[in-house]
Structures are given as C-alpha cells and as structure tokens.
Subunit: 192 residues, 2 copies
C-alpha cells in the first residue's frame, strides 16, 4: 500500500521539475541565485572598506614641543562620511538577503524584486558618492595640488595612505557589485 | 446623410479612448512621457554643470615678480574629470532621447526600456562619481583641512569657489534625475 502511494508522489515531483526547466523563465532562477551570491560579495567588500578606513590611524615617530603628528580617518570629513555610508551599505545588503531569498523561491513575483531594485539604486548612489569623494581626497594626499598649495602628505603618512587607498578600492568593488545587482534586477523584471 | 456618417466615427473615437484608459498598462504611457521630460531636464542640468565648471577661472588682481595667482578648473584633476564626465552624461542623455520616444510609442516593448535602464545605471554611477569627488574638493577649498595643513583657498578665490559649488549642485540635480529614471524604468519593466 505504501508503494502505491509513493509512485504517484515521485512522478508528480518529476513532472514539476520538468515543467520548471522547460519554462521560458528558467534562467531567472539562476540569475536570482547569482543575485544572492553577489549580495554576499557586496557585504564582504563594503564591510571591508568600512573596517579598513575606520582603523586607518598613523602617528609619526617624532614630535615637536607642541604637538604630535597624527593622521587618522577622523581628520577628514570625507573619510568619516565614507565609514558611515559603507557601514550603511553593508547593513542594507544584510537586510536585503531575506528579500533576495524570497525572490529565489518565487522568481515570478515582481514585488520583492521591485523593492530590491529601487533600494539597490539608492544605495548604489550612496556607495558611489562616498567611494568617489574618498578617492578624490586620496588622490590629493598622494599627489597634492600645486595651484592651491596643498602638499602631498603621503610622503610622511605612508601607511595611512596605503590603508585609505585600499579602502577606496574595496568600495569600488562594492559599487561594481551594486551596478551588477541593478542590471540583473532589470533583466529579472523584464516580461519574458 | 452626413450626420449618419459622423455619428459612428465619433463613437469609434470615444471607444478607442475608453479602451486605452481602461487598459491596466495605461499609466505606463504617462510614466514613459515623464521619462522623456526628465531626460530633457537631465540634459539641461548636466550641460549646465559642465559649462559652469568649464568656465570657472579666476585671476587675482595682484601678482608677484615671478607668477600671477590664478585658479581654474584645469588646476584640479578632479574638476577636469567632472567636466569630461558631465559632458559624456549630457551626450548620452541626448542620444537616449530617440529610444525614449520609441518607448513612448510602444510602452509594452521591453527591448528599448531594458537598453535604457542598463545605460542609465552606468551613467548614473559616472555622474555620481564625478559629482561626489568634485564636492569633496569644493568642501576642502571652502574649509581646508588642519591635520594635513591644506588651507582653505576660498578666501582668495571667492568667485572660483562659488562657480565650482554651483556646478556641483547642478551635477547633483542630474544625479537625482538619473536615479528617478532608473526607478521609473524598473516600474515600467514590471509585468503588470
């Protein structure tokens, strides 16, 4: 009696699978899974960017009578903005994981996908703004600017510069991932 | 006889309109037209940003024996990048107008819309990067930075600072419009 119950069950499952593969939206499931994996990569890179920038701090081994030479991310408003926005982006990406899972389970539901693409676009703008402004300051620290008499500080603060440059590179990786996420979401929203 | 001909004609027109309004995708036409109008606004603001930044040039009325004090957008790599990318964004938006018109005529064709949303996302990133990095430099020019001994140059170059600040504001308007365009395209791509 148990076998007679089992057989129709298994054949049902097989049918369900065959239908899912044959459907024109079969690639959507793959893209939705890749969306989830890319989000994990985005979390890693944005968290890495925030942590690298947040721990950048260098004190020079010599000091005058009046003050010690120290550079940290606190010295630059842009770098503070960078740490805050990169943490926000990482937090958003963590919170977006459940929605991404829902979108994998129901690849044809437009609601969660639309929610994700709108917030992705907003956080893409935030991440790009903070990454680009930090890059502008890092460039100045490396090269200085003659006309405004801003000297390159990387000769003195080598480690500080290396660490902030690394953070900027990590943020650009996060920006690239967010661009991919938005474009993939647009593909997934398209009527097949 | 003319009245009998007129009556079915007008009733046909009335029917056609009623059908168009009753369709579930009727709001799509409105969004598509707004897309076109927003693109015109984006062209104006990005062209304005590029032109304002590109003409920023101030020479101080005093000079020493050896050199004259002059500030122009050429002095800052970031501002050169700003002029180039803002011109690119304006050029892209002009070239995207025909595709936007096609999307108005055929609101249910996903091809042109998908093309637009992918390129919009890329140029949104470009515009945000140039606007944010220019904003970082403008902020430095206004406030300076004590720890790295970069002095605020806006005391001397007031007009230059005002003009570059204006250009940054115009670029942020362009960024806002591009974010709206991407989100509207996502809404238009959604299966109704």
């Amino acid at each position: 009696m148990s076998t007679t119950v089992d057989v129709p069950e298994s054949s049902n499952v097989g049918k369900g699978k065959a239908v899912a593969v044959a459907r024109p939206g079969g690639w959507k499931k793959g893209l939705a899974i890749m969306d989830f994996i890319l989000r994990l990569g985005g979390i890693a890179s944005s968290l890495g960017a925030a942590a690298t920038m947040g721990t950048s701090d260098q004190t020079l081994p010599f000091f005058t009578q009046f003050f010690q030479f120290e550079a940290s991310y606190d010295s630059f408003t842009t770098f503070q903005f960078f740490v805050i926005t990169m943490s926000l982006v990482a937090g958003y990406l963590v919170l977006s994981l459940p929605f991404s899972v829902v979108a994998i389970i129901r690849p044809h539901a437009a609601g969660p996908r639309l929610f994700l693409v709108i917030l992705d676009t907003v956080f893409l703008t935030l991440a790009t703004a903070s990454g680009a402004s930090a890059a502008a300051i890092v460039y100045l620290a490396h090269n200085g600017n003659q006309d405004s008499n801003w000297l390159a500080i990387c000769n003195q603060f080598g480690d500080f510069c290396a660490q902030t440059s690394g953070a900027v590179v990590a943020s650009l990786v996060a920006v690239f991932i967010l661009v991919l996420l938005v474009i993939m979401s647009a593909l997934l929203l398209k009527r097949h």
